[in-house]
Amino acid sequence: MRFKALSKETIERIKAEFPKYPNRRSLTLPALRIAQEDIGYVSEPAMIDIAELLDLTPIQVYEVATFYSQYNMKPVGKYLIQVCKTLSCSLVGAIPIIEYIQKKLEIAIGETSEDGFFTLKVVECLAACGSAPMMQINDRYYEQLTPEKVDQILSDLKTNGKSDLATGPFMLPVLQG
C-alpha cells in the first residue's frame, strides 16, 4: 500500500513496534505519537495512513486522537510550551508565570508566536508538584520556574535548540547518604 502522509521511516518506526503487542489495534497510541514526532501534529491524512497500517477504520484512530490531550490536532510551533496550572502549581505562582509568558511572547493561551517558534498551552497536572511552578516544552520538563528562568529557557531554545535548565532524572529533595 501507498501512504499519503507518513514517511517511509515513520512507517518503519511504527512497524518496529508491532512485535510488542498481540494485535495491531494496540499500536494506535504509539503510531499517533510517532506520526506526531514526524509531522508535528496528527493530520487527517496521517490518521488515514495509520488506519491503513493497523487495519482499522480512520474513525477508530480519530476516536483515540481526540481523547488524549497530547495529540495536536492542529500544527503547533516548533516548541510547544505547556504550563501546568493545577492546584500545587497555582498555589506557588503558576498563574504569574503563564501571564509572563503571554506578555513576553505576545500571544494568548492556545496561540503560536509570530515567528512560529512557540505555542503556549495551559495544561493540567504534569506530576512535578513539588518543583512547581513548572512547564513542559516538547519532551523535557522545566521546573521551579521564575520569570528569569523562563527568559533563559526560551532564549536557549531559540538559539541552541536546547536548554541546560531542562530537568534530568528527578530527585527532590536531593537525598544524600
Binding site: L54, L87, K121, C125, L126
Partner: protein, 433 residues
C-alpha cells in the same frame, strides 16, 4: 521522630548512584529475582507478599498479594502484568523519581510479580508526558535484556519474560486500571464496567494484574529481607514505608520516604519545613486531589490508611498538598474541579454532565455571581454523582468539593453574599485547554 531506614530511596541516596544496571547490581540488585527463580515457587512468593501486608501505593490501597492470588491458576493462555506508571493524581510525583532514579528496582519487582502470576509479558504504562522517564526505562530494559535478567529462559529456569514500555498520551483517567487496559489495547481510555475484574478478564480479556510503580518497587525488598521485616515497619495494617510527596505552600516540598504512621504535623512541619513565610495552615489534602480536604485540627492524624480514613479522607497516592491561610478555598475547589472536568472521560452521564455543571457553579461563585442556594445545589449535584458512575472518578471529583464545603461553608456563603472573592491575589485564570 524516631530514626528510620530508607528502603526505596536507599540506593538513590548514595552519592554517585546512577540507577544503571551495574550500579543496581552492586547494591544486590536482581538477587531477589534470581532467588525466586531458583528456589521459590510462585505460590510461596504470593504468600510472602500477602504476609508482608504490602498494599497498593497507587491510591486504593488494595492488598497486593491478594490481588496476585486472584489470577486463575488453571488459566490456559497468556496472563499479563501492567505496571501503572500513569502518575497523574495532582500532587503526586513519586513514581517519577522511582523510575528515573532507580528503574531496575521496579523492573526487578515486575519480574518477580510476573513469575509469581505466570505472566510472560508485562507492560509499563507510563504517562505520555514522562518522556525522560520513558527513555530511562527503555534504556534500563535494554540493559536488563543484555544482562539476561529478562528475556528468554532467565537464569536457566525456563521462565521467559518480555517487558515493554507503553506510553500514554495525556489522560488522567488511564490511571484507572481498566481504562489503562483499554488504552494499551489502542482505544479511548474508558473505564470498563466491573465485574468482570481484570484478574479474570483483563488485558486482551486475559487475566491481568495491575500494580503501581511504588508497589512493585517494594517487592524485591520483601523477597530479600522477608515479609516479617516488611510488616515490622509502619503501623497496623499499613505496613512498610511510604513515599509522601509534599507540595504547595511549604518551605521544603519534596518526596519523603517514611514509615507509615508519622503524623501529618511531623510531615508538614518537621520534614517539609513548615509553611512558607510562617503563614498559618488553612487546609491540606492528604492523598492526592481526589482525597477530601482536611483542616489544621487533623494535623495529628497519623499518615496510614486507616487513620486518615477515620478522619474523613483517604491516604490515596500519598500526595500532601498544603494550603496556607491566604488560599481561597472556593478557588482551590474550582481549580481542582477544572482538572476533573478536563479529565472526565465523558462515558457516563453523572460524571460527564455533573462535572461541567459543578464547575459552572463554582466559577460563578468565585467570580462573584453566586446565588442563594448554590452551595446546597453543589452538594445536591455531588450526591447525584456519588456512587452512580462507572468508575471511582465520580467519587474522586466530588471529594474536594464536598469536603471544602463541609469545612469551609462560611467561605462559600461569603463569596455569594459579598458578590466576589475576598482573596484577591488568587484571581481565576481563564483556561483554554
Amino acid at each position: 521522630m524516631p530514626k528510620y531506614e530508607l528502603v526505596l530511596f536507599k540506593n538513590m541516596a548514595q552519592s554517585g548512584y546512577t540507577g544503571s544496571f551495574t550500579d543496581y547490581k552492586k547494591t544486590g540488585g536482581y538477587t531477589a529475582f534470581e532467588k525466586v527463580l531458583k528456589e521459590g515457587s510462585p505460590a510461596n512468593i504470593i504468600d510472602e507478599v500477602k504476609k508482608s501486608g504490602l498494599r497498593g501505593r497507587g491510591g486504593a490501597g488494595f492488598p497486593t498479594g491478594l490481588k496476585w492470588s486472584f489470577i486463575p491458576k488453571d488459566h490456559v493462555g497468556p496472563r499479563y502484568l501492567c505496571c501503572n506508571a500513569d502518575e497523574s493524581e495532582p500532587g503526586t510525583y513519586k513514581d517519577r523519581q522511582l523510575m528515573e532514579r532507580d528503574p531496575h528496582q521496579m523492573l526487578e519487582g515486575m519480574a518477580i510479580c510476573c513469575y509469581a502470576i505466570g505472566a510472560a509479558t508485562a507492560y509499563i504504562y507510563i504517562r505520555g508526558e514522562f518522556d525522560l522517564g520513558a527513555e530511562i526505562l527503555e534504556d534500563a530494559i535494554a540493559e536488563a535484556y543484555k544482562a539476561k535478567v529478562i528475556g528468554k529462559d532467565i537464569f536457566g529456569s525456563g521462565f521467559s519474560l518480555d517487558i515493554f514500555v507503553h506510553r500514554g498520551a495525556g489522560a488522567y483517567i488511564c490511571g484507572e486500571e481498566t481504562a489503562l487496559l483499554e488504552s494499551i489495547e489502542g482505544k479511548r481510555g474508558k473505564p470498563r464496567i466491573k465485574p468482570p475484574f481484570p484478574a479474570i478478564h483483563g488485558l486482551y480479556q486475559e487475566p491481568t494484574v495491575i500494580n503501581n510503580v511504588e508497589t512493585l518497587a517494594n517487592v524485591p525488598h520483601i523477597i530479600n529481607r522477608g515479609a516479617e521485616w516488611f510488616a515490622s515497619i509502619g503501623i497496623g495494617k499499613s505496613t512498610g514505608t511510604r513515599i509522601f510527596g509534599v507540595s504547595g505552600q511549604v518551605n521544603r516540598p519534596g518526596n519523603y520516604e517514611v514509615p507509615m504512621g508519622v503524623t501529618v504535623r511531623e510531615m508538614i512541619y518537621d520534614i517539609a519545613g513548615g509553611i512558607r513565610g510562617n503563614k498559618k495552615l488553612k487546609a491540606f489534602i492528604p492523598g492526592g486531589a481526589s482525597a477530601p480536604m482536611m483542616k489544621p485540627e487533623h494535623l495529628d492524624t497519623p499518615l496510614d490508611f486507616e487513620s486518615i480514613k477515620e478522619a474523613g479522607s483517604m491516604l490515596g497516592s500519598g500526595a500532601i498538598t498544603v494550603m496556607d491561610e491566604d488560599t481561597c478555598i472556593v478557588w482551590a475547589a474550582m481549580n481542582l474541579m477544572e482538572f476533573f472536568h478536563h479529565e472526565s472521560c465523558g462515558q457516563c452521564t453523572p460524571c460527564r454532565e455533573g462535572s461541567g455543571w459543578v464547575l459552572q457553579i463554582l466559577r460563578r461563585i468565585e467570580q462573584g455571581h453566586g446565588r442563594e442556594g448554590d452551595v446546597d445545589q453543589l452538594l445536591d449535584l455531588c450526591g447525584r454523582i456519588e456512587g452512580k458512575t462507572v468508575c471511582a472518578f465520580g467519587e474522586a471529583e466530588i471529594g474536594p468539593i464536598v469536603s471544602s464545603i463541609k469545612h469551609f461553608r462560611a467561605e462559600f456563603e461569603q463569596h455569594i453574599s459579598e458578590k466576589g472573592c475576598p482573596f484577591h491575589p488568587n484571581a481565576a485564570l481563564s483556561m483554554a485547554h
